[in-house]
């Protein structure tokens, strides 16, 4: 394997991804990611100088609309899906002291 993913990198990516991996999972992730990157490195064979990155295949632009509410209030049903709710609000762990 050409790519080596360090312990620090996997730790950092875990923070970005908001995932807590077990030691076993971490090792597997390091291995998997290195192999994937080896594969992805194939792209460096291609000269892409002057090629614009293509995010969308059609020439589309943002679709704008007036900021007007068109749907009804469905908050009761929406809140039914919440793991925890109280007084028509989502409950989350305390974030400020």
């Amino acid at each position: 394997m050409a790519n080596v993913i360090s312990d620090e990198t996997i730790e950092y990516v875990g923070i970005l991804a908001k995932l807590e991996l077990s030691e076993e999972e971490k090792e597997a992730a390091q291995n998997d990611m290195a192999r994937m990157l080896d594969h992805i490195d194939k792209l460096s064979e291609l000269d892409t100088t002057g090629i614009e990155p293509m995010s969308h295949v059609f020439p589309v632009s943002n679709v704008m609309r007036e900021d007007v509410v068109t749907n009804g209030d469905d908050s009761e049903n929406i809140l039914k899906n919440a793991p925890e709710e109280k007084d028509s609000a989502f409950v989350v762990p305390k974030t400020v002291d």
Partner: protein, 482 residues
Amino acid sequence: MNVLDYTAVGLGKAIAKGETTAVEAMQAVLAQIEKTEQEYHCYVTIDAEAALARAKAADEAIAAGTLTGPLAGVPVAIKDNLCTKGTLTTCSSKILENFIPTYSSEAVVQLEKAGAVMIGKTNMDEFAMGSTTETSAYGVTKNPRNPEHVPGGSSGGSAAAVAANECFFALGSDTGGSIRQPASYCGVVGMKPTYGTVSRYGLIAYGSSLDQIGPLCKDVTDCATIMEIISSYDKKDSTSIERKDTDFTSALVDDVKGLKIGIPRDYFREGLEPEVKEAVLNAAKQLEAKGAIVEEFDLSLVEYAIPTYYTIAAAEASSNLERFDGVKYGYRAKEFEGLHDMYKKTRSEGFGPEVKRRIMLGSFVLSSGYYDAYYLKALRVKALIKKAFDEAFAKYDIILGPVAPTTAPKLGASLSDPIKMYLSDIYTISLNLAGLPGLSVPVGTDNAGLPIGVQLIGDCFEEKKLIRAGYALEQAQKGQVE
């Protein structure tokens, strides 16, 4: 005639003529499910009572004359990443184990408006990440053509349900081949439309620039008919395209005279099973015998599609799946210390290994310092791949090739090596990168009896050429059998 033998359009006609009813058709499908579902496991959610009530309502509207159209009263299966109002929608993931959408995806709304009746939700790879339907958190689906083999994926439950007569047609989604490949493995017809043709509103996103909803069905006539119904311009999807040419059934003609078909030599090199190669080239010959002009050519860049795809798909997935955080819906970890720990534990316990793998890779390629080298590089190569297709379609109406290098692998044979599994997507993923439509049509079986599909690829907005060629091919196949 056994009601289950009808195609979707055939059943619609029989219902319209009063030869059968939506309720009878639903009862027949539910009886079939009762008989075979335990072995195949095509569905994750079935509510028989609700399905029968919906069928009864359809019958009443048909009798009253308020519901007409080719699919009125026809039972349909819906992939579990399409939101269905009031019906559990899990994406085959633990993190959405209890999610009841408050609205339906636009494609489902269009089908319901046309009178199709939902049976239930089909199994899939978790969040559509996988090629075998084995990454589902709710068990594997088996291939009804041979239950020792996978049905393909990620729309494996939908493809298997069609093949097992556990529905009359199904909806799937295709991010890198997830409709066409399971259709090929299960011996049914599947289409990925041009990007933007079917609204993605209510489709739980995996790779937003690649995802597209499409049909899995018994024949090309069903495919064109379903496409006509689910294609719509939708303001709720900002990438939706307003098309005036969605009268797809007008292309159901057995005539390919003068149609120029290109066969990419690059698709027939190492890794392709000889039996698949033979069946696919035989399909080209059948079209040639009907007057199509068939030529070989070099498509180029084929081997760069997989690394490009997995970079882009993983990047988009890592961003799209940020919303699953245990706050607004779905699973929440039981024990945690503070908000961030709740996020992390919820996601780590809620996502399966393949989903985590792709989120990690996506987070990495988007991270500062690597964004240019990986993510932007992939978007640049995507532009080159699109250009290669543009050049091909300047010469050809259709590109013809295999859907997958092999027939359906055995259960358990693919997951041990992710790269190997990713490589099996080689013929399908470039269409998603370039936004192109693709149609998978069954063209025979290998010596083990497993189905083989041919892939017809069109330029953007050229679904009709695919339907025409697919229909002609189907007629030729019928001639061969008789």
